[in-house]
């Protein structure tokens, strides 16, 4: 507990310290009831009468199965293994991930996704910008940089592992693709749980939030992902601009690039909430994030003070409340 407090390295005053300590203690008590969490050298209870298979993160010590990692014990039929908490992301088919392009190779992009190897996005497994289904030609291959360049942040879906063990991605929808006008946050991958929905448009704030399963989180200004809709807006704009002078058009283009201050405030607030929850080690779901953002607004917390001591304490206490109410509802 004290190590956790030291890790947070906050300048807490005495009352804040006591409050945070008690909140974290209660969270820990609740968690230890729920699941089989092990730390290094914990004995994993097994029934020695049925034969078991010792998997990853386990070892044999004096006839007992002992964990060699901190994590959660998982059992699949005979196999017993420990799923480590602080580990790299382990992809599963269908995961939505956010990654950064690190290399352009023939017919493919290589992406950094916090996996033990780089992911591959083939040119053939993504929709072309013109939206037409056709064979990819050599010209397309030459124009790959006009789609994604090095260092671009993109979101995609895990397609599967190839025979050679490389991880392939796909981006066959309008919602996947390049992410701009925002920022990328990296959190430990275990904080993001697999859910039905990973793309979130926080309508109250005009913010797009993409919780990549690999722990890369995109927070940015909302963009219309629906291609048709976008085009229509474009046309309207163009029609409106016909009457205006060229100067007007230029300013319009410039303004389009700059994120309005109001939206930027929301983006920063959401991003700081994510940072806060990550520092406290709470799992990141859109409900919790929105909850934190709303709490920060209602308590008139400044954006940068979200990461200050008082709001840490408040967030921890709120999480305790939330979990207590959840367990009550279940009971």
């Amino acid at each position: 507990m004290t190590t956790m407090l030291r890790e947070l390295r906050l300048s807490l005053n005495q009352t804040q310290r006591v409050r945070l300590q008690s909140a974290l203690q209660r969270l820990q008590d609740m968690a230890s009831l729920a699941s089989a969490v092990t730390v290094v050298a914990d004995t994993i209870p097994v029934n020695h009468e049925d034969s078991i298979l010792k998997g990853h993160g386990t070892s044999d010590l004096n006839g007992e199965v002992v964990a060699t990692l901190c994590g959660v014990v998982e059992r699949v039929n005979k196999l017993v293994y420990v799923r480590a908490q602080r580990a790299r992301y382990k992809p599963e088919v269908g995961d939505i991930i956010v990654g950064r392009v690190i290399e352009i190779a023939p017919k493919r992009w290589r992406l950094e996704i916090n996996f033990s190897q780089d992911a591959v996005l083939m040119l053939s497994s993504m929709n072309l910008p013109d939206g037409i289904q056709r064979r990819r030609t050599a010209v397309d291959e030459l124009n790959m940089r006009s789609i994604f360049e090095e260092n671009d942040v993109i979101c995609a879906e895990v397609r599967g592992f190839q025979h050679d063990g490389s991880l392939h991605l796909q981006a066959r929808s309008q919602k996947y693709g390049k992410l701009e006008r925002g920022m990328l946050l990296t959190v430990p991958a275990y904080l993001v749980k697999r859910r039905k929905q990973h793309f979130h448009h926080l309508e109250n704030y005009g913010v797009d939030l993409i919780l990549g399963c690999n722990g890369f989180i995109w927070v940015g200004e909302h963009v219309n992902s629906n291609g048709e809709n976008d085009m229509m807006v474009d046309q309207e704009n163009r029609e409106g601009l016909v009457n205006k002078s060229e100067v007007g058009q230029a300013t319009y283009e410039v303004q389009e690039q700059i994120t309005p201050l109001e939206i930027r405030k929301h983006v920063c607030r959401v991003a700081n909430s994510v940072r806060l929850l990550c520092a406290l080690g709470f799992s990141l779901t859109v409900e919790v994030i929105v909850d934190t953002v709303e709490a920060s607004i209602s308590s008139n917390t400044d954006i940068k003070d979200i990461l200050a001591a008082e709001f840490y304490v408040q967030t921890a206490e709120r999480e305790v409340q939330r979990r207590v109410s959840l367990t009550r509802r279940k009971g």
Binding site: L142, R145, E180, R181, I258, L261, R264, N272, L307
Partner: protein
């Protein structure tokens, strides 16, 4: 114009027309008229012309036009490489190959664009760095098919390693624009204003073996400073002053680019900047650390202070964090009390008895803090993160002491600054420095109190 031949085949294609290359060479000379290296090259070429007057007029340039191996933008290079490599056809060919091989996935062309400041790069690949020193830089990656050259894997890895070794934070265009826009709107990506520090956390006495030590964290930037006092002899030119040495080391745990010798350049840069900010001039005048308090016997014995900094986490603004850590560590430093028995004759080395129990507190009231103002597009910011530093045009580090006096000033980054901007920066740094100083004082007091509790 001759036939259009893909440029990556030109060196092998005999039919590449001579006149084009000649014109490129002449263009080049025209472009770089007045450039001393070119003039030297020209004049040395002219000597050759005088020896062999029968050759064509363009052959004063040291390539023969009958062999046109190079793309025109690659062609002439006013570099010492050319002069000392004895430009035979063979070398030129290997040079071309080198250019293509340098980027295995996409061959860059080196354009003639001149960049105002020579880019400081350590010599990973000699040619690249010397080209860059002369202001050449790779043009935008061309969209021609990737190089046809087969490069052995180890070679490729070495090249890639050298290409990425110095890479700063990779950010996409959209993110860069977002960061710059945020700075323009006075709301940075972590919600700070332009002139706000990140929360600073201070620990003292982290290294028990040292005389004083401190760990300072600014966001993800994490530095440790230890101070060791040893008995030494004063410099003969300054017999009434002790000696202070500052060494900074960048740990590879902070960033992968510090691995091997990657961090050396930054380490020396930081050490120099801190020496300039804290130790005053070469004579030791105007030093933030009072050097005369380190003397035990004038001209004979003094304390040597070794200030060693270690960068454990690197997220921008290392200089400020290091300077703050040095200040905290110095206030944590206890110098052993000594009793001196002077020898019988004045030439004898005096006997010095170092006490184990009694320590003297070091006076740190004059030690300045460093405030780095990083200029990003039109605005300057305080305490830049590494993402923001990747967008900087130049940065000015100003050390301010308790009285609001400027003790040192260093500038990094290539772009020039208007003097009025610098004056503006100084007054801002003075203001910010006062706040930082009082914040540090309270943090030091808190850290000492918590250290006593434990």
């Amino acid at each position: 114009m001759g036939r259009r031949i893909p440029w990556w085949r030109r060196w092998s294609a005999r039919e590449a027309s001579g006149p084009v290359e000649q014109r490129a060479a002449l263009d080049f000379l025209e472009w770089h008229r007045g450039d001393p290296t070119v003039e030297r090259l020209k004049s040395s070429g002219k000597d050759k012309v005088s020896q062999k007057p029968a050759r064509k007029p363009s052959s004063f340039f040291p390539f023969s036009s009958s062999w046109p191996p190079l793309h025109s933008s690659l062609l002439p290079c006013p570099d010492e490489v050319f002069t000392f490599l004895a430009p035979t056809r063979h070398t030129l060919r290997s040079l071309t190959l080198w250019f293509l091989a340098a980027q295995p996935s996409a061959a860059p062309t080196y354009s003639r664009q001149r960049v105002a400041p020579p880019l400081p790069r350590s010599g990973h690949c000699g040619l690249d760095s010397s080209l860059r020193r002369l202001g050449w830089r790779p043009a935008a990656y061309c969209s021609s098919p990737p190089s046809r050259l087969r490069i052995s894997l180890s070679h490729r890895r070495a090249l890639v390693g050298s290409a990425t070794g110095k890479r700063m934070v990779g950010l996409s265009e959209g993110e860069k624009r977002f960061i710059r826009g945020g700075i323009a709107q006075d709301l940075r990506t972590d919600g700070r204003q332009r002139l706000r520090y990140r929360p600073i956390s201070v620990e003292t006495g982290v290294i028990p073996q040292a005389n004083g030590s401190a760990r300072v964290r600014l966001g993800a930037t994490d530095v440790i400073v230890s101070i060791k006092a040893e008995l030494g002899k004063p410099h003969p030119l300054q017999p009434d002053k002790g000696k202070v040495a500052i060494f900074i080391d960048c740990s590879p745990t902070a960033a992968p680019m510090f691995e091997g010798r990657g961090g050396e350049e930054l380490s020396t840069e930081l050490s120099f900047a801190l020496q300039r900010c804290l130790l005053g001039g070469r004579s030791g005048a105007g030093a933030g650390i009072d050097l005369s308090s380190l003397v035990i016997v004038e001209g004979k014995v003094c304390w040597d202070l070794y200030i060693d900094g270690l960068v454990v986490g690197s997220d921008g603004n290392l200089l400020d964090a290091l300077a703050a850590a040095i200040k905290v560590a110095l206030s944590n430093t206890g110098i052993p009390k000594v009793t001196v028995n002077l020898g019988a004759s004045p030439n004898d080395q005096p006997d010095v008895d170092v006490s184990d129990e009694e320590f003297l507190q070091f006076d740190t009231s004059g030690v300045p803090v460093v405030v780095t103002l990083t200029k990003v597009s039109r605005h300057y910011i305080v305490d830049a993160t590494s993402e923001e530093e990747s967008q900087m045009s130049s940065a000015v580090s100003i050390s301010v002491n308790r009285h609001g006096h400027i003790c040192g000033l260093t500038k990094r980054g290539g772009a020039g600054l208007d003097p009025s901007v610098i004056l503006d920066m100084i007054s801002v740094a003075k203001h910010v420095g006062e706040q930082l100083m009082s914040l540090l004082d309270s943090e030091i007091a808190a850290a000492e109190a918590s250290a006593e509790d434990q």
